[in-house]
């Protein structure tokens, strides 16, 4: 009986405990879920353009610029390409050809691979095959040329001497006491033709007085006294250390010019008659080389582009195997105050480079005559090689 009561009490307490426990086992639980951001990003990759400052074969450095329409960065290897301040331009200056790809990421993290292939830098000079520089041969010389780019020009000259000076002007003499134009010449321009790189500098002398020391192969003596007196013109060629390698002299006069100008450009001879009388009725010319007088009539073609100007074909001037002074004579017939008059101008011009000066465009060429030769070979990137050699065959 007692046990039964105890059991009931225990059960009662158990029920109370359970109720108490239950009273704290009920939880409040809140859950709030909501959207707070809706974002997107631009997935259109940056547009770009690649520019090069030189696009044809060159022996210079080439600058590449890649421009974008939004800021970018380079991911991974940048191959030396820098990003300019605007972050929209990539730049690199190439001294050698390069073929690479870079991975570019724009500001929206779109990635794109950009490839570039620069293959038009050439800093290697062409190779002249068949002769060595400064060597003398006793038989024909057959030259050929090779380069990793196209050979664009081969120039060869023959000289009796490796160092020549000349006055590239026209000293005409009036022979009939006629004066077409009262012009005067008070300057002499002296040119140097040298075919060796050893010559670095030139001293220009007039009557023994040093006028100029320069790297230029041309010098004009100005404000000269007008007289028949001959001036002594001299040029000294100096090497890098300032040592005199060679000296050449010529004598020239300051003489009145009688109205004829020569323009020796582009292998065509233009003769401009300044102040030609309005009633010029006849103009003829003949030319011969200094040492071989042959009074050959030269056809004069009026130059339509320039009044009082005539063209003389270069071919008429060329005498093979001769480099030197050509004599030219012009005869005028005109009316002055209804009186027929005649005038003759005679003068000379030096033709230093009209022998074997040609483009052979990569073709081998045989040199067969005795003499000194200068050969220059240029590729389309502008690199040059040159040699001097001599053929001395008894």
């Amino acid at each position: 009986m007692v046990n039964s009561s105890i059991k009931k009490v225990i059960i009662f307490f158990l029920l109370i405990i359970i109720l108490l426990i239950n009273s704290v086992c009920a939880y409040y639980y809140y859950e709030n879920r909501f959207t707070i951001f809706k974002l997107n990003r631009n997935i259109i990759p940056a547009n770009f353009n690649i520019f090069y400052d030189k696009t044809t074969p060159t022996n210079q450095d080439v600058e590449m610029k890649i421009t974008f329409d939004k800021p970018v960065s380079i991911i991974g290897n940048n191959y030396g390409i820098e990003i300019l301040e605007d972050e929209k331009t990539l730049k690199k200056v190439f001294s050698l050809n390069e073929n690479n790809s870079i991975l570019v990421r724009d500001e929206d993290f779109n990635y794109q691979e950009i490839s570039y292939n620069l293959d038009w830098i050439d800093k290697e000079p062409p190779i002249i095959i068949g002769a060595d520089n400064k060597k003398t041969y006793n038989n024909n010389v057959h030259l050929d040329y090779t380069d990793n780019f196209t050979i664009s020009e081969i120039y060869s000259d023959y000289y009796s001497d490796n160092f020549t000076i000349y006055e590239d002007s026209q000293d005409f003499y009036e022979t009939n006491n006629m004066q077409i134009v009262p012009a005067t010449k008070d300057s002499i321009t002296l040119y140097v033709l040298s075919n060796t790189k050893e010559m670095e500098k030139y001293n220009y002398y007039l009557d023994g007085i040093l006028y100029e020391s320069t790297h230029e192969k041309k010098y004009t003596f100005t404000n000269l006294e007008l007289s028949d007196k001959e001036h002594n013109l001299a040029v000294e060629a100096l090497d890098r250390e300032g040592n005199i390698i060679e000296r050449k002299e010529i004598n020239r006069k300051t003489v009145p010019i009688r109205g004829v100008d020569f323009d020796f450009s582009q292998g065509v001879k233009y003769i401009a008659l300044k102040g030609t009388p309005k009633t010029l009725t006849k103009l003829s010319a003949c030319a011969w080389v200094e040492e071989h007088y042959e009074d050959t009539l030269v056809n004069l073609t009026p130059n339509n582009d320039s009044p009082n100007s005539y063209v003389i074909s270069l071919a008429m001037w060329r005498h093979k195997n001769y480099i030197g002074r050509y004599i030219v004579k012009f005869e005028f017939e005109y009316k002055e105050n209804n009186i027929d008059k005649k005038a003759t101008l005679i003068g000379s011009v030096y033709m230093p480079n009209n022998y074997k000066a040609s483009n052979y465009l990569g073709l081998p060429y045989d040199f067969i005559e005795n003499g000194n030769y200068y050969v220059r070979c240029r590729d389309e990137a502008g690199n040059e090689s040159e040699i001097n050699f001599q053929i001395d065959r008894i």
Binding site: S23, C25, Y28, E31, F34, I36, L39, N40, R41
Partner: protein, 173 residues
């Protein structure tokens, strides 16, 4: 023997009830008419601003923010009634739920009240934060910032971010 079995069965039943205490107490939050109750009143309110929308980028517009408030009272102004104050301690967590993890943003949750950044676990969920029965308004700023260190080359285009605030009554409440 049979009594003993009944007794054991009864005890087991009572224990079973004690462990399955889920249905024995019910709260109803709305009381019509006048009634008196000794039950403590919970107030757990989450406020948030309108959805922030836009195009994010690493250079321009690389930063977006929005605010979340957790408070334990109801303003008079809000409901035009007497201010209600929470009477139960709550623990709550704030969880950021992005629609994709393949979008280059970093998340920062700032407790505006103390200026401290709240640590988020790998699931972008905060630790438990307690809010008691004293008037309290916890203001949080959620910042989305472009993640410049993200090197994934196949990113998603869109990102929706949800916030989950879970509040649970503390045991001693």
């Amino acid at each position: 023997m049979e009594k003993k079995f009944k007794y054991l069965f009864f005890m087991f039943f009572i224990l079973l009830i004690s462990f399955t205490n889920i249905t024995l107490a019910n709260y109803k939050s709305i009381i019509y008419g006048k009634a008196k109750t000794n039950l403590k009143k919970p107030v757990f309110i989450v406020e948030y601003s309108d959805i922030v929308q836009g195009q994010i980028s690493s250079k321009t517009n690389n930063y977006f923010e929005s605010y979340i408030n957790v408070l334990n009272y109801i303003n008079k102004d809000d409901l035009d009634e007497i201010k209600k104050l929470n009477e139960i301690d709550f623990e709550y967590t704030i969880k950021i739920i992005p629609s994709t993890n393949n979008f280059p943003v970093k998340y920062k949750l700032i407790d505006i009240n103390n200026g401290q950044e709240i640590a988020l676990d790998s699931n972008l969920e905060s630790e438990k934060i307690t809010i008691g029965n004293m008037e309290e308004k916890n203001i949080y700023k959620l910042i989305l910032e472009w993640d410049t260190e993200n090197n994934n080359q196949n990113l998603d285009t869109n990102l929706d971010v949800e916030i989950l605030v879970k509040g649970v009554q503390k045991n001693n409440g």
